[in-house]
Every structure is written in structure tokens, then in C-alpha cells.
């Protein structure tokens, strides 16, 4: 009896969670240029338009480039910080860790405003690289959290054993720590990448007038010109995200990466 109830509840939750995606998917196959749901006719033209239309393609490329660059930069900031806190006994470094956690827990509009003021003051308003830096700092929390977890998972006796075998700091990092921490680098990068791809407000406030990322284009499409292409893009993104994390799950230990450690690990 309890098992059946569990299955029903689980099914219900799965349904509610996937409902919006189904709606979007339905909208994306409309034959006509309208956002009808249930869809009128069936057409995959909109998926093609993502790649054929210069505007959408440009936005797609821009988003991918910005996401990759800012995720990489976020990892580049988070890694030395997480390593430093793990390696040394330096309570003052925790302040930087706190600082790294803050951007993400502030309401995005506030962070966006802060960046807007900053870039304007230094006359860089609108320069494309500013959104990369802004996103990197905004999302640095994610690789920071995954890397902190990753380093915490490294058994210190491995490090000590390597020391007694003649490995100095750099060699220990290269041969013992990195192999154990690498999956967390990847998952941190993946999180930052996915979130940057879909981030609207910071991107809009910082480079909205010069660079059109996909979320900006989608929002504009919603306001000014209805086209199912934006729904097609969303479906593609969801599939891409599913693919990325599916691959991570296939080649790695996803539950462990998300923090599931058995007591005797």
C-alpha cells in the first residue's frame, strides 16, 4: 500500500516538474509563427531556424562562448582558493571563501546593478568581455562549493604517504590530489556553464545593448515578436544540459559529486 502511494506521489511530482518542459516542447513544434498550445500543426522549422537565422545563431554562439569562458574563469578563481584553504591553516582565508559565496546568494538584480555601476564608472560599459568577468564572479560560488567538497573528500593520509615517498607540494598536487579532485572541477564547471547559458539580468544590464545572448533574445522575443524559435532553443538547452550531466553520470559518480559520501569513504 505504502509502495503504491510512493509511486503515485513520485509520478505526480515528475509530472508537475516536467509539465513546463512539455508545454515548451509543444509550443516549439507549432506549424505557424505563433505560441499556441496545444500546437497547431507540426513543424520542426523552428529548430532549424536556431541555426539558420543569423540573429538566433549569433545569440547561440555568443551564449556558448560566454558560458564556456566565464565557467572557466570561475573555476580558475575557485580552484586556488579552495586548495589554499585546504592546504594551509589560515583562518583569514575564510573571509575570501565567504566573499566567494556571497554573489550567488544575493538577489541577481543587485549583483547586476553593482556590475553596471562598476563597468560604467570605468568606461567599459557594453564591452563583451565584461559579461564574462561578471558571470565568472557571479557564479564562482558553484565551483567553490563543489571544489571545497572535493578537497574535503581527499583523505589526508594519501597526502602524507606521498610526502614520505618524496613528493613535494607540487608533485602531491599533480599526482595525488588532482586525480581525486578532477571530477569536482568538472562538475563545478558544468554548473557554472549551464547557469551562465541561461542567465538574463546580469547579462542584460552589463552588455544588453551590444551583445545579444540567448536569454536576452528570448526575453525580447517574448515582448516584441512571438516566435516558437525561442521555445525550440529552450528545448535544445534542456536536452544539452541533460546530456552534459548524463555524461558526467555515465563516466563519473554523480551522487558522490553531489555530496553523497558513505561513512566509510
Amino acid at each position: 500500500m505504502a509502495r503504491k502511494l510512493n509511486a503515485v506521489v513520485a509520478g505526480l511530482i515528475a509530472l508537475v516538474l516536467s509539465a513546463p518542459i512539455l508545454v515548451v516542447a509543444g509550443v516549439s513544434v507549432n506549424a505557424k509563427r505563433s505560441l499556441d498550445f496545444p500546437p497547431n500543426g507540426f513543424s520542426l522549422a523552428w529548430y532549424a531556424e536556431v541555426f539558420t537565422d543569423a540573429g538566433w545563431r549569433g545569440a547561440l554562439v555568443a551564449s556558448l562562448v560566454v558560458a564556456a569562458a566565464s565557467a572557466a574563469l570561475a573555476v580558475a578563481i575557485a580552484f586556488p582558493l579552495a586548495w589554499f584553504i585546504w592546504r594551509w591553516r589560515a583562518p583569514w582565508a575564510r573571509a575570501f571563501e565567504m566573499l566567494g559565496m556571497t554573489p550567488f546568494i544575493l538577489p541577481p538584480v543587485i549583483t547586476a546593478l553593482g556590475f553596471l555601476s562598476f563597468w560604467t564608472t570605468f568606461d567599459q560599459y557594453g564591452a563583451p568581455w565584461t559579461v564574462v568577468v561578471s558571470h565568472a564572479v557571479f557564479f564562482v560560488t558553484l565551483p567553490l562549493v563543489t571544489l571545497s567538497m572535493g578537497f574535503a573528500a581527499v583523505d589526508r593520509s594519501y597526502v602524507e604517504a606521498a610526502s614520505t615517498m618524496g613528493a613535494d607540494d607540487r608533485t602531491v598536487l599533480r599526482t595525488v590530489v588532482m586525480p581525486l579532485v578532477r571530477p569536482y572541477v568538472i562538475s563545478g564547471f558544468a554548473f557554472a556553464f549551464v547557469l551562465s547559458l541561461n542567465e538574463y539580468i546580469v547579462a542584460y544590464m552589463v552588455v544588453g545593448f551590444t551583445l545579444e545572448t540567448l536569454p536576452i533574445k528570448i526575453f525580447n522575443a517574448l515582448r516584441y515578436g512571438y516566435t516558437p524559435t525561442m521555445a525550440a532553443v529552450t528545448v535544445l538547452f534542456v536536452l544539452l544540459t541533460g546530456l552534459v550531466f548524463g555524461l558526467i553520470a555515465r563516466f563519473g559518480d554523480l551522487p558522490r559529486l553531489l555530496g553523497a559520501w558513505a561513512r566509510h569513504d
Binding site: 593520509s157 594519501y158 602524507e160 604517504a161 606521498a162 610526502s163 614520505t164 615517498m165 618524496g166 581525486l180
Partner: protein, 353 residues
């Protein structure tokens, strides 16, 4: 030849002192056991020797070379950790070859040496097995092989056998001893198991509460303990409070004993092992005899244990079954404490709890 010299090594954590001024000289090729109850500082001392803890005071040298400030990775010691710390992402062979790999030794030489070491620890052909597929005893051997890969000057082991079951443990004790003898390498093992120490060591270092109580070969530690703690920690012993009555004579509960090595006056503590206490016909007079009542008898198979009440103090005696006197609990018993078997110790001091 290399001698390891500890000179007043101290380790403080805030106000807590884990090791108080440990001084020791270990000649080359010896098998040393650091023995003591948990929290006595033996592991901390080993880690200071390995370079994994920075001493708060004192110096450490090997071959007359001061290595107190040398970082762990330059000390050229091999160490086996309690958790073994085998790298999970490498196979057995790769683990063993690790110290060679990071020194840039060519791959085929690495493989050769790993195979050689696996032969040494009696695990031939296991080079390509992942760590997860090895049994507890096999992992133990890989950890030992790995520590020995670079032919280190010092071989350090932190409670290496504690994770093994009893039978495997006994076998490994013998193997370790044989290995050490074969290689002639100076070895220091931390253990809380006194039987293990007595079996394996050339030199037993008894520690408690951060101090070294005695450092001597096993038989000396057993027969001539330096103080009450050592006497009581190693095996079973009787401890009797006494006072010097006249030169060469001390009063103890139930009578007086003639003993050598007595201080001119004052209180003393006497230690005598149960197997050295002799049972005499009740009431029979003689030197160093005490008369008391039998309170408890226990048959231990190879011997019989007698607990005798002598003027309020308890004396335990062990006798062979065939020497067992015909007496029941409550009956009169006479014991003889031969002077040669008694050890005179300073009074008071620490007892193991």
C-alpha cells in the same frame, strides 16, 4: 652506520603536551617498538620522526646529520600508515612504483623494481590488480612494498597490523620480523599490543602520557622494569608496598624480605611476576616467606592461578598443575618471594588504569 638520535623531542598543542622531551638512541638495523596505551604520544613521536609533525622543541638527527628542519619529502624514510593509504586510482604495481615515478625513473625500471618488491612481500604477479580488488592482508603487503621501494634509511609503521584479524596478525608479525632481519633496515613500529612488541622488537620503548619510561630489549623490560608503570603494563605482576627496615631488609605486608639493591631508607615498591612466586607447605618457615590465606583458584590449562591474601595485600601466584598444593579457598598458604626475582622500584608513580 646510521644511528637515529632523538634529543629532547617535544610536541605541544596549545597547552596540551603530547610528547615531553623524548630522548633515544637507536643503532642501525634494530627493530624498535614504541609501546604504550592510546594517547601516550607514541604516534605523535613517530610522526615527528617522519616529518609529518613539526616538533615544538628538541632535535632529531640521523648519521650525525641534523634533520629536525628537513621536510618530510626529503627525509628518505619509508612509512606504512594505519589506514595503509594506498592510492585508490592506481593499481598495486603503480602504487609501489609511485616513489620511483616521481623521481623520473624510467618505466621499465619501475616495473622491474615493483615486481621485485612484490616477490619480497610474497605477492608475485599482483602488479596490475586494482587496489579495490585486494584483500586486507594483500593491501598490507603492498603498503609495505611501497614503503620499501626506495630502500629507505628508516622504515616506519603506525599500528600496521591493527586492521587485521587475529590469525593473520600473528602470521604478519613473524613475516615482518623476518623481512626486517633479511633487509637489515632500521625499523620503528608503533603498537599498543604488548605481545606484538615483545614478539617482534629488539628494543621496546614503553611510553605513557608523553614520556618514555623505559627503552630496553624485551626481556630486560620484562625482568627489570624501570618503574611501576612498566612493570604493570607488561604482562602480569605483583606490586607490593614496602619500607626499608634495616640494610638489605624491607617490611612488606605479612613479613620482611631480604632483598638486594635496596636504597638505604624510605619507602619502596616491589615487583615480582606471578610465575616467580613459589608455593610452600603452609606454615613452613624460611627466608622471604609470607603466610596468608588462599582467596581464589583458577585453572588456566597450562598453569593454575592462585590469589592469596597476605595481610590485606593480594599476591598472585602461577603454578604448574603438577605442583599444585592441596589447599582450598580459605585455607592457609605460604608463599616464597625469592630475592633474585624481586625488582625494587621507586615508590608511587603511575599505574596503568
Amino acid at each position: 652506520m646510521s644511528a637515529l638520535v632523538l634529543d629532547g623531542l617535544t610536541k605541544r598543542y596549545g597547552s596540551f603536551v603530547a610528547v615531553h622531551g623524548a630522548s633515544l638512541r637507536i643503532p642501525h638495523g634494530r627493530f624498535v617498538c614504541l609501546l604504550g596505551p592510546s594517547g601516550c604520544g607514541k604516534t605523535t613521536l613517530l610522526r615527528m620522526i617522519a616529518g609529518l609533525e613539526e616538533p615544538s622543541g628538541g632535535r632529531l638527527s640521523i648519521d650525525d646529520r641534523d634533520i629536525t628542519d628537513t621536510p618530510a619529502h626529503k627525509r628518505e624514510f619509508g612509512m606504512v600508515f594505519q589506514s595503509l593509504a594506498l592510492f585508490p586510482h592506481l593499481t598495486a604495481g603503480e602504487n609501489i612504483a609511485y616513489p620511483l615515478r616521481i623521481r623520473g625513473v624510467p618505466a621499465d625500471e619501475q616495473r622491474r623494481r615493483a615486481a621485485e618488491l612484490l616477490e619480497l612481500v610474497r605477492l608475485p604477479g599482483a602488479a596490475d590488480r586494482p587496489v579495490s580488488k585486494l584483500s586486507g592482508g594483500q593491501r598490507q603487503r603492498v603498503a609495505i612494498a611501497r614503503a620499501l621501494a626506495l630502500e629507505p634509511k628508516l622504515f616506519l609503521l603506525d599500528e600496521p597490523l591493527s586492521a587485521l584479524d587475529a590469525k593473520l596478525r600473528e602470521a604478519m608479525q613473524i613475516e615482518l620480523k623476518q623481512l626486517q632481519r633479511r633487509l637489515g633496515i632500521t625499523t620503528i613500529v608503533v603498537t599498543h599490543d604488548q605481545r606484538e612488541a615483545m614478539t617482534m622488537a629488539d628494543l621496546v620503548v614503553v611510553m605513557s602520557q608523553g614520556r618514555i619510561h623505559q627503552a630496553a630489549p624485551p626481556m630486560e623490560v620484562y625482568r627489570r622494569p624501570a618503574d611501576a608503570f612498566v612493570a604493570d603494563f607488561i604482562g602480569l605482576t605483583n606490586l607490593l608496598d614496602g619500607a626499608v627496615a634495616a640494610p638489605g631488609m624491607a617490611t612488606v605486608p605479612g613479613g620482611t624480605l631480604t632483598l638486594p639493591d635496596l636504597p638505604p631508607q624510605g619507602r619502596v615498591l616491589l615487583s615480582i611476576r606471578p610465575e616467580d612466586v613459589l608455593l610452600r607447605p603452609p606454615g613452613e618457615a624460611g627466608s622471604n616467606r609470607l603466610h596468608g590465606t588462599l582467596s581464589f583458584v583458577r585453572d588456566l590449562g597450562a598453569s593454575v592461578e592462585f590469589r592469596i591474601d597476605v595481610a590485606g595485600a593480594e599476591i598472585i601466584a602461577l603454578a604448574r598443575p603438577q605442583d599444585r598444593p592441596a589447599v582450598e579457598p580459605g585455607g592457609a598458604v605460604t608463599v616464597e618471594l625469592p630475592a633474585s626475582a624481586c625488582v625494587v622500584l621507586p615508590p608511587g608513580g603511575e599505574r596503568p588504569s
